[in-house]
């Protein structure tokens, strides 16, 4: 009997130790009995920090946040039954946004399956196509730990591959689960190092590209997940050299930082609504990195533009091209591509091309009558200390940040769950980011997003984070859609919860500030930045007034 428990622990230890040897540092654990050997292994491993989350859905997004900061895989552990199913939304977001997660679901052994045993379901391929791979491990007590080591290396390699993402290991354990004595397990054999090469472009790819660019009007467009470490500097240098506008999504990493930002453009969502400007500013080529940017105005502009060369760069070979405009897809890393093009020294665009965009950018920055959200975003960008991390919710929050963040030399990292752009898991993702990020972590989300992941506030209690909630009384984004005209709009689409956020904050021991007018946000944020621990700033937004202010602003921009 004891032998089984000891072998369970040795097996679990081998998995965890192999992950740790490969660089994993964090494990997010939800309570349960069947997962006990995995929990014991994590607790006893000196290199692994553990986080406890009762709600597995929160655990999933928390791990997503942890892993997102440095794209370092985080471990998720839960018990058998429906427990791992709660990870599904976070798993799908991780898959779509290429965040590496190691999903370890404990399971009952094969002999308890398909016989009506309690809390036993078929956990095989639970996440379908939304994981990079799935491995059903043999029962821990009856197999050589070398198998665990091999499969752990394999899983680590898959989840950190060219296209990173979640990998699922289903880990059955027989009882007993608690060894009679907790001796330190045997050290595992040395880890098999996995080394990767940089994906460099071939010379003919570069000569094709520079030929298309040479002396012509170009645009470089960067969405989220644009490129690897060093991308902002490389692409900014290239844009400047080519004298072409660098249209940078807030999630591209290009808007903020002390690289040259002379060609960086961030306010295109406003001035690309102007038909005259668009008619006068037609690119001949477009170079696109990463996913499609948030801005719909930019999407429309790219969709209709006259460019004859429209090149996508994606190291994983995906054609992320809902506009169907691509004329070439180059599958290489972004930095070596930028460097190689720059080294080939193509002729820049003629004078006036980049300058036209810069002027439009400046005009937009000075525009009057901005909506109240503009003030909120500007204060965030101005007040956050260098090195801070700003997490953005989807829907309204990311659009406001897109419109109003501008660019700055201050290093500031903006992160959002744009893989699927869901309303879910926002609080937990921010908590995970805050847990992994040594400096300030601040989130800007809506009131429905807060409600959807309210359980995530439990983990926030131990962390330094500021949550700014734009409370516009429900799904404000729907106010911009045709559904707003329907009789059942409030009940079926807006769906305000009516919850008092001050009470929410109190319940979770989160300190609370309320801002009734955007003007009051600056001192509220300043005060929050002077404190530590979890803090919530509720910003009351008059939905109708905000909608009207946005419409006025866009109308003015379009003129």
């Amino acid at each position: 009997m004891t032998d089984i428990a000891a072998r369970n622990l040795q097996w679990a230890w081998t998995l965890i130790d192999t992950f740790a040897a490969a660089g994993v540092r964090e494990a997010v654990i939800s309570p349960g009995s069947r997962s006990t050997p995995l929990v014991l292994a994590c607790e006893r491993h000196p290199a692994v920090r553990t986080w406890i989350q009762v709600d597995e859905r929160c655990a999933g997004f928390f791990a997503l946040g942890l892993a997102r900061v440095e794209r370092r895989p985080a471990i998720l552990i839960c018990t058998s039954g429906t427990a791992p199913a709660h990870w599904y939304p976070a798993v799908i977001e991780a898959s779509e946004s290429a965040v590496p997660l190691l999903l370890l679901s404990a399971d009952r052994p094969p002999e308890l399956h398909d016989c009506g045993a309690n809390q036993t379901i078929n956990q095989r391929r639970l996440f379908g196509v939304h994981v990079r791979d799935f491995h059903d491990l043999p029962p821990a007590d009856s197999a050589d730990p070398a198998i665990a080591r091999q499969l752990a290396t394999q899983a680590w390699s898959e989840c950190t591959g060219l296209r990173a993402g979640p990998v699922h290991l289903n880990v059955p354990f027989r009882e007993p689960l608690v060894p009679s004595s907790l001796q330190t397990p045997q050290p595992s054999a040395s880890h098999l190092p996995v080394s990767r090469t940089r994906q460099k472009p071939r010379p003919e790819q570069i000569s094709d590209l520079t030929h298309a660019m040479n002396g012509r009007r170009g645009l470089i467009v960067c969405g989220w997940d644009s490129g690897e470490e060093g991308f902002a500097g490389a692409v900014s240098g290239l844009a400047e050299q080519l004298r072409c506008p660098l249209l940078a999504d807030p999630l591209s990493g290009v808007r903020f930082g002390n690289h040259s930002r002379n060609a960086a453009i961030s306010r295109y969502d406003a001035f690309l609504r102007n038909k005259g400007f668009v008619a006068r500013h037609q690119p001949e080529w477009v170079l696109r990195f990463g996913a499609m940017p948030v801005s719909k105005a930019l999407g429309n502009y790219l969709q209709g533009c006259e460019a004859t060369d429209f090149v996508l760069i994606d190291v994983t070979g995906r054609r992320l091209d809902p506009l169907r405009r691509a004329t070439a897809l180059v599958t290489c890393d972004a930095v070596p591509l930028c460097e190689a093009v720059a080294a080939a020294n193509p002729e820049p665009a003629q004078e006036g091309w980049l300058e036209g965009f810069i002027e439009a950018e400046q005009r937009s920055a000075l525009a009057a009558h901005k909506p109240p959200e503009a003030r909120i975003v500007r204060e965030l960008v101005d007040q956050l200390p260098p090195g801070s991390l700003l997490f953005s919710g989807n829907s309204t929050a990311i659009r406001e940040i897109d419109s109003w963040s501008g660019t700055a030399a201050k290093p500031l990292r903006i992160i959002a769950n744009r893989g699927v752009s869901g309303i879910d898991g926002n609080v937990s993702t921010l908590a995970g980011l805050a847990a992994a990020h040594a400096q300030r972590s601040v989130g800007l989300i809506g009131d429905l997003a807060l409600y959807h992941d309210m359980n995530g506030l439990l983990a926030a209690r131990e962390l330094d984070l500021i949550l700014v909630v734009l409370n516009n009384g429900g799904g404000g984004i729907f106010g911009y859609l045709p559904q707003a005209g329907l009789a059942g709009f409030e009940r079926n689409w807006l769906t305000p919860t009516g919850l008092d956020l001050e009470q929410v904050a109190q319940l979770y021991a989160v300190s609370y500030r309320r801002v009734d007018d955007a003007e009051e946000f600056a001192p509220a944020l300043a005060a929050a930045l002077e404190h530590h621990g979890p803090q919530l700033i509720e910003v009351m937004i008059d939905r109708a007034a905000s909608l009207e202010a946005h419409r006025r602003y866009w109308a003015a921009a379009a003129r």
Copy 2:
């Protein structure tokens, strides 16, 4: 353009109208844009009542509760992306406990897939093996509504089949989604009625069975999901006729009701711990209906018993037999089997056999030194009005109800999510039950279960329900397991949330009562029963004292 929106609505209407014609009455909707045609169709259908739930996870369990009361399929509707993934835990529970659900996930049309379009994921076969079937519908605007009608009938038939369960329809819509005028859609063609036959046993099955029973000591064991309408009366009559004990799980439907209960035994979890009793009371045959009962003592007794004939009845043909004791499996409906065996008139067991169990039952009922939870369960059973529905959480709650409910003539229905026995979705399931059940609905759950599904309280605001929370400061069930001896027990297994439940109640406008001593529960429950609307009674349980009381009680029972 308008044509597309009108066709979307007609298509959605055809689906909903076909379900309604088949008897569906409830739709649970989570907000979103892409699902608009489905929402409009439900809102405009006179036979369909709609419920709005912002959190899709809650929506899933709420629909599970709605559908569980009468095994009538409930519709779930949500938008594209991760939204349907939140249904997964409820889908798995529905699959394992045979509750029919019609899962309608809106989707973007095929041309927006696999191209990096926002909020678009592969929703095909999202729930893997955990649905009875999956149908990927053609885009609504480009196909004949007769296809929608056909697939809706097919889905309804699958989800209400011999083994009921969830069915997933993925429903893509092209924009625009809101018609310019909301004319009433065309009535759908008449619904194809689906009629089912009763699964009756064959004569030779009955003669084999009665031969095995004839004049011998037998046991009838009923777990949850034991049989169809009329089962309690049929099986009780049979047990009495055979003079054999009817060991009835609290979820079997046999403990409560005005059928004869002369052979019904409910306190076996206590007296089957007594080795002397077990040695003196060995069955020669066992007839088992439904899933394995909750009681571990009963499981051990059945595992080790001397019965040479061990017959399972399961109309779906599953061998729900983790004990590996079955000697025959009869795949027919339970009521006709009971009736046919009774009509064959086998000899009853000799006198003294049933009486031994009845005496043990009576002794257990009179035992002193019961734990505080015994008092809670007894008050619930005594005070709830006839026709009430008692929802039980898993872990501690169901074990306490198993031990202390006894039996009674008062009709009382006890329901739990025993398909997977998860800690999840308890509040929402209770809310769904309350929404579908005209009489009192009361839940008994633990504090972790409340936290796990706290968002479910939003829907409770509109409903008549009483939630009794046993607050033992975390996962009290782990106190009975070897993990309780580990150093990290509280942090990793017990995981108390520390949340103040009075504040939780206040946040959701649920009226609140606190009970510090089990003696105070009776007046608190009586007071709650005099009011309507959502109510929460928090019962403080001293975990150590309760554990000790249970151990003392079991030790006494074992002597």
